[in-house]
């Protein structure tokens, strides 16, 4: 008898463990089935690609937040650093174009400079956190205010105009075009007669986003940099004793975070062909929620890029699905709040089981 109940108990525990580990996948599948059944036209190539297309900022900011949260910190500035980058990038590209540079040169130069300047907020954040012992919440909130102010100042009330058409072509173009049964081409939209359907596969910005996310995921999973990140989040004293230069590493983490936010800002420039100061503001909450849904702990030491991407998928699908359904986006906030709490409760109730996996 006793052995029997034991076996049942372990089996039940295993079930809980499975659920605790994979509930997010299950949730995503259920979500997609729900929208496929209720929202007309949801299950189409176009809408599924739109989830990715409009989700790019969530994916990038979520990835940025993953690194910071693994170290036990938080970065509240990502949203407005993204806005700052969008404004700066758009102004620079427009300025270079006005100076008479070619479209390709002005885009590369403008956005390149933006990506470098975007490291500065991260450097300041990191220095405050690592060297001056300012709590991450406060340091990055201060940077949130500062980058908001600076981007509005840069904007000066006038949106950047007259960006080259090439920006639009990159930002809203697709990686692969297929004319069924006839031709396929990369990047360039084939010239066809009116009425002929062209399949557009994978937006360019999604390709850029996921290449970068793959690289960063590799860094976190396979390199010393990633190992040290987990070590610092797990136990900062032990990490120091193990000879890790914690301060330097933390500065780098915050710089990486604001670099990814800046990248999201430059993608915004390509997508919308202008820059807005509050371009990234709505995505701050989403990015943190995505990381938590992905099973990271705000106390640090836990989390992976892959699972954060899963969390981002859940949120991006929710947003697009509700829009296709024609429901007011107000419901999104309620849903996100409830999902967040459920995620943490599941994590709380099966702690040792889920933690073992990492």
């Amino acid at each position: 008898m006793a052995v029997g109940t034991d076996r049942i108990n372990t089996r039940r525990q295993k079930l809980y463990a499975l659920f605790g580990t994979y509930w997010a996948y299950l949730f995503l599948v259920l979500e997609i089935i729900f929208f496929a059944l209720t929202a007309r036209g949801f299950f189409s190539l176009r809408v599924l690609q739109n989830i990715l297309f409009f989700g790019t900022p969530i994916f990038l900011l979520g990835t940025a937040e993953t690194f910071v949260i693994i170290t036990g910190g938080i970065d509240l500035s990502v949203g407005f650093v993204m806005g700052f980058a969008a404004v700066l990038g758009a102004k620079l590209v427009a300025g270079f174009t006005a100076l008479g540079m070619g479209p390709a040169a002005s885009i590369v130069l403008g956005l390149g400079i933006t990506l470098i300047v975007g490291l500065i907020p991260g450097f300041i954040n990191g220095t405050l956190v690592a060297r001056l012992d300012v709590p991450p919440f406060i340091a990055t909130f201060a940077m949130f205010g500062i980058s908001h102010g600076v981007s509005e100042l840069l904007l000066g009330g006038v949106w950047a105009k007259n960006l080259p058409h090439l920006a639009n072509a990159i930002g809203n173009g697709f990686f692969l075009y297929i004319v069924p049964g006839k031709a396929a081409s990369l990047f360039q939209r084939p010239v066809v007669q009116r009425g002929v359907r062209v399949l557009e596969i994978v937006p360019n910005v999604v390709v850029i986003t996921f290449v970068v996310i793959l690289i960063v995921a590799f860094i976190l999973k396979r390199t010393k940099f990633g190992q040290h990140t987990y070590a610092i989040g797990g136990n900062i004293d032990a990490a120091t004793k193990a000879g890790i230069n914690v301060k330097k590493h933390l500065v780098r983490i915050y710089m990486l975070s604001s670099f990814l936010a800046t990248l999201a800002g430059t993608i915004y420039v390509l997508k919308y062909v202008t820059g807005k100061g509050d371009a990234g503001a709505p995505f701050l909450l989403d990015s943190i929620v995505a990381v938590v849904i992905g099973g990271a702990s705000l106390y640090g030491g836990k989390g992976t890029v892959g699972r954060t991407v899963l969390g981002c998928f859940i949120l991006a699908t929710l947003e697009t699905g509700l829009r296709v359904l024609g429901v007011s986006t107000f419901d999104k906030y309620i849903a996100v709040g409830i999902i967040l709490i459920i995620a943490v409760l599941i994590d709380q109730f099966s702690p040792e089981l889920v933690h073992k996996e990492d």
Binding site: P135, F144, G145, I146, F330, I334, L340, I341, V344
Partner: protein, 361 residues
């Protein structure tokens, strides 16, 4: 020789003492400096009317900061206060609107609306309190969840528009003053002296907005609660060391629950005040970031995010610094975006000073 050394030593000690006093009260000094500077740079800044306006407009943030003070001292954080404020304002205004349309007397509409608002505003706090205290969900996450839920609910109720057509008496109360003086002719309480012509309205001196009295009462009670009662003691104890508090026999989960309910109750008061002030039901915009400015005020006022430290008076000074800065920059003709930068920089300065002088408060 020796006496000279001793003299030098006392001088050194005195200097250390002065530095300590300045560092300890740097926020108050900073507030004074701001007031002086803006009095020179901004025309009409240093006037009774303007200074009263600054406090009147800071009312909401002061209440939210008081809420945040309790939570932060206990070692937590409440990100939902700004949204709970809008949530309460919308629900209370909606009820007033319905009753007023049903042609009930204004007093009844307002009373029922206020009571209903105060009842619902404790719900989010109850939920986040249970999550934090019983299920050990990190406060950041639990209250972020309530942030989303209360934002969604208020937007659903109001449909994304402010709620109009409320009893007109609301604004009279919310924006009224305690004392009106028409120099040399008349004095009256609560409403302008009867028979004041439109031409004389500019001469009318208004003293002590009604919001002052409201603030004095609420903040006074909170100050007393935190400083002189067992409730306050327990709050500091939990923030100082959770384990020690448990061993000292404090029912920590129960106390934490109370703190989160108190926090959203104060946020609800802010929401109801907002209805009185605006005469409309305003929802909180998702990027308004009230909670962050309230937290900034509390931190500038000397509290620590690690818990166990903070005072109501400090939080009041912190919020007033933000309020004076905003109004002062505006009157001085500086572009409004600088205020974000300024608040950010002051916040960093506050924490660095706190770090350099850890044992001051």
């Amino acid at each position: 020789m020796k006496s000279a050394e001793a003299l030098e030593e006392t001088a050194g000690r005195r200097r250390a003492r002065i530095i300590e006093v300045v560092a300890k009260n740097w926020a108050s000094f900073f507030l004074l400096i701001l007031l002086v500077v803006f009095s020179f740079t901004g025309r009409g800044f240093f006037s009774l009317g303007n200074l009263q306006t600054i406090v009147h407009l800071s009312t909401v943030l002061l209440l939210l900061a008081a809420a945040e003070t309790f939570v932060i001292i206990s070692g937590g954080i409440d990100l939902s206060v700004g949204m709970v404020m809008g949530f309460t304002a919308i629900i209370s205004a909606k009820i007033m609107q319905i009753l007023y349309r049903a042609e009930l007397p204004q007093g009844t509409c307002i009373l029922i609306g206020v009571l209903a608002g105060l009842a619902v505003c404790t719900l989010p706090g109850l939920i986040s309190g249970i999550l934090v205290a019983r299920y050990r969900v990190p406060p950041f996450i639990a209250t972020l969840g309530m942030w989303g839920v209360t934002l969604g609910v208020q937007l659903k109720v109001c449909g994304g528009y402010t709620i109009p057509f409320l009893p007109p008496k609301l604004v009279d109360i919310g924006n009224g003053y305690l004392i009106y003086v028409l120099p040399g002719r008349a004095v009256s309480l609560f409403s302008p002296p009867p028979g004041v012509a439109q031409t004389q309205i500019r001469e009318l001196i208004r003293i002590a907005p009604n919001s002052f009295i409201f603030l004095l009462v609420v903040l006074g009670v909170m100050w007393h609660l935190l400083r002189n009662t067992k409730f306050g003691q327990h709050t500091y104890a939990i923030g100082g060391s959770m384990d020690a508090a448990v061993r000292a026999g404090i029912d920590v989960p129960r106390h934490l629950l109370k703190i989160y309910v108190l926090s959203t109750f104060l946020a609800g008061l802010a929401g109801i005040f907002n209805v009185f002030q605006a005469g409309l039901g305003n929802f909180t915009r998702f990027n308004a970031m009230y909670e962050l400015f309230a937290i900034a005020g509390v931190i500038i006022g000397g509290a620590s995010l690690m818990g166990g430290k903070g005072r109501i008076i400090g939080s009041i000074i912190g919020v007033l610094i933000i309020g004076v800065l905003e109004t002062g920059l505006l009157i001085s003709g500086v572009e409004p975006f600088y205020r974000f930068i300024a608040v950010g920089v002051i916040l960093i300065v506050a924490v660095v000073i706190d770090h350099l002088f850890p044992d001051l408060f």
